[in-house]
Symmetry: C2
Subunit: 203 residues, 2 copies
DNA sequence: ACCTGAACACCGTTCAAGT
DNA sequence: ACCTGAACACCGTTCAAGT
């Protein structure tokens, strides 16, 4: 037989990340261990060290797939409202918040400050910058249409990002339980909040 | 002598919380252990279980002092700008962001989603609601002065909170490194961001 | 090159026992 | 009522050894 020997089926690195992503949504961010991820992937507890420097590196890898999902979801929302910079901004924000609610443990891993920033030139930085660039494009499109102020697009995009990110964080950590309970009410309130922001951005 | 025997000096519960708060800013949120907190407080590793159900309960206690500090800092900022609802909102936000930058590990403990929400009627909820109520008061004051829109004050306050909280989170987790580096630049940019929001709230 | 298994120093949590 | 110390099942990480 031409099969590889006792090794893992092809790509252990990816298998570990996928196992970790699954485990983190099940057991929560603090209920994940390198040893159990390895067990799910079907290797010994020391095998992951061939592919990741330490646990933090694995968590970073898991967070990266989260950023890819996030960018994808926002892109999709934008494409569904062509030529309408107002709807684009609002629905991209709703997609952002939706992901925070539906994959909250992953979201907290990505943004909760648990992963040490260590290297400033890391891949994680890249991923979050990409998502931000999408926002800048929406703003610039809206500026061309005369919908948004002629201020620095980076600044307006950061304002929108901060608002949406803050709301997503507060909602996904239960800090809004005293105002809204259901998922539907949270998403509906999000649109009101975002429209308050846009009225500030609009000239 | 009338001293208590081999027991701890009076209030172990408080000593544990203080030791934890100190340790968390030194070693980071994932470098804190119940056993080391106990050691710093000068008791055995099982002593904390008389005062806290488990590690999560101790972390909750630590986060609570963080919320108290936060409420205090915001209150102080408001008092320094009497009768000026615009400066009050901006500077309360800056105080919020300043705390996130200077006590980032504590801030991530409070808002990072690590502490299980479990009981919806917990003390933590109380603390964060209190900080929010301060915001509502600022908004209502500004509405009386004709500075802010006559919309639901709760909704406007949540909008402001989301913006400031999101910016604080992004800044304190290093997500803005590609735009701003220094602490000073981050705080200065915060005021621009906030003014974009207020222009939306103002009628 | 890739993986295993023993080993080490640490955890959180429980529980009988001490004062 | 409050604390200790042993015990248990788990960690992350390292390292010699196997194929």
């Amino acid at each position: 037989m031409t099969e590889s020997p006792a090794y893992h089926h092809g790509n252990l690195q990816q298998a570990l990340v996928e196992a970790g992503a699954q485990l983190i949504e099940e057991n929560g961010i603090s209920g994940i261990s390198l040893r159990e991820v390895a067990k799910i992937a079907g290797v010994s507890h020391s095998a992951p060290y061939r592919h990741f420097k330490d646990k933090n590196a694995l968590l970073t890898g898991i967070a990266e797939v989260g950023f890819q999902r996030l960018g994808h979801a926002m892109q999709l929302a934008v494409e569904q409202h062509p030529g309408n910079a107002r709807e684009q901004l609002i629905e991209a924000g709703v997609a952002y918040i939706r992901l925070a609610l539906d994959n909250s443990e992953m979201f907290h891993l990505m943004f909760g400050g648990l992963i040490a920033a260590e290297d400033p030139s890391e891949a994680l930085q890249q991923s979050s910058v990409l998502a931000f660039q999408g926002l800048v494009l929406i703003i610039q499109g809206g500026q061309k249409d005369g919908l948004y102020k002629q201020a620095e697009a980076n600044e307006l995009a950061l304002t929108a990002w901060s608002l949406v990110h803050g709301y997503a964080m507060l909602a996904s950590t239960g800090k809004l339980h005293h105002m809204t309970n259901s998922r539907k009410a949270i998403l509906s309130l999000a649109r009101y909040i975002e429209s308050h922001l846009i009225d500030g951005i609009a000239r």
